[in-house]
Symmetry: C2
Subunit: 208 residues, 2 copies
């Protein structure tokens, strides 16, 4: 499927906190040389070593809110006083240029994105069960009991609403989950709606 | 994805003659222990070693036409005086029981099936180009020039109409094509529409 020009695929991966999304996404990017992490816009200050346009597009608050008001963001959120968002133009250009993008965003962001950019492929990562999710959250050793309890409540709510995602991947065995996530990437690239050019090209050659 | 009960997936694979469908399907069945080849109904005589209910469901012409008239076949065709067909009940039962089926059928059969059983996952295998398709057909050394020319014409027509399939897989490098076909099987098993039970089960456990 890599010869003819095809539409790029926007993969949106979200999960309850502790389900293992970040590690899965990192490994997925490692596995697919031609899958790129989407670059978000943010109002927070660049940290040492961060490069504008690579790690984030760094913008000031006025510019960010101008983008919000102009409807240029597919999703955005404010976290600890800083704003983060994904530009619709980034997604549309990638799709048009045949570039596959990976967006690692939370449930709220994915829900917004689904409304503003229907063409994405939405994957929800699930923990095998709540006991294991709690065990993983406690294993991190970074959160208080109160925070863990809040994360579990959020997880419960998100899971009960996750039916609208295109795919569900249970992260029980990590390699199995990574295999399923990889299969979703490969399969979606073969979708005929993105590969009309292959048929047209073959047809033209057939008529020669 | 293999613990919770989910709906079975009906995979329908077709291709122009010479594109390599039969070999790909055989390897796919070898690779997935839990993917079964669908058993067709036929009016032809059982050959030595063929087992009723395993290789085919052997029925007489009267019974076959009774099934046709009762709308019990999802697709059927007459080839060299014998009738072959797939029962709708076979597909519906497999889906309900969580059994994944592979149907290796031609373009005409897939087109009929699409009308009668919309829930299938339809994959079309493509040759990399027509010169290669012709080379493969000639390499078989079984067909006359006339037959090869007819097969190429059919291929051209089928390819020009294949846009309705869910997936397109180009069989240029065999292992790549097999990898893509396998990815489609794995990914479709993760579709949330077939896995509602996972969410319900997790939700119930979460509320304990």
């Amino acid at each position: 499927m890599n010869k003819a020009k095809r539409e790029g695929v926007i993969f949106v991966v979200s999960a309850p906190s502790g389900a293992g999304k970040t590690t899965l996404c990192r490994e997925l990017i490692d596995r697919f040389a031609d899958l790129r992490q989407s670059v978000s816009f943010t109002t927070r200050q660049a940290r040492a070593g961060e490069v504008d346009g690579v790690d984030y597009h760094f913008v000031d608050k006025a510019d960010f809110h101008r983008m919000v008001n102009a409807g240029q963001l597919a999703e955005w959120a404010e976290v600890h006083g800083n704003c983060y968002g994904t530009s619709l133009a980034t997604l549309e250009q990638a799709a048009e240029q045949g570039v596959d993008l990976l967006l690692d965003i939370d449930f709220q962001g994915a829900t917004q994105l689904k409304k503003n950019y229907r063409h994405g492929v939405f994957v929800f990562i699930l923990p095998p069960n709540f006991a294991e999710l709690e065990r993983r959250l406690r294993g991190r050793d970074t959160d208080t009991d109160e925070v863990i309890s809040k994360r579990l409540k959020n997880a419960e709510r998100e899971i009960s609403e996750a039916g609208w995602y295109d795919y569900l991947v249970v992260n029980d065995d990590f390699q199995t989950a990574l295999g399923e996530l990889s299969a979703i990437v490969t399969a979606e690239r073969c979708r005929s709606q993105r590969n009309g050019a292959i048929l047209t090209e073959l047809k033209i050659k057939g008529e020669d």
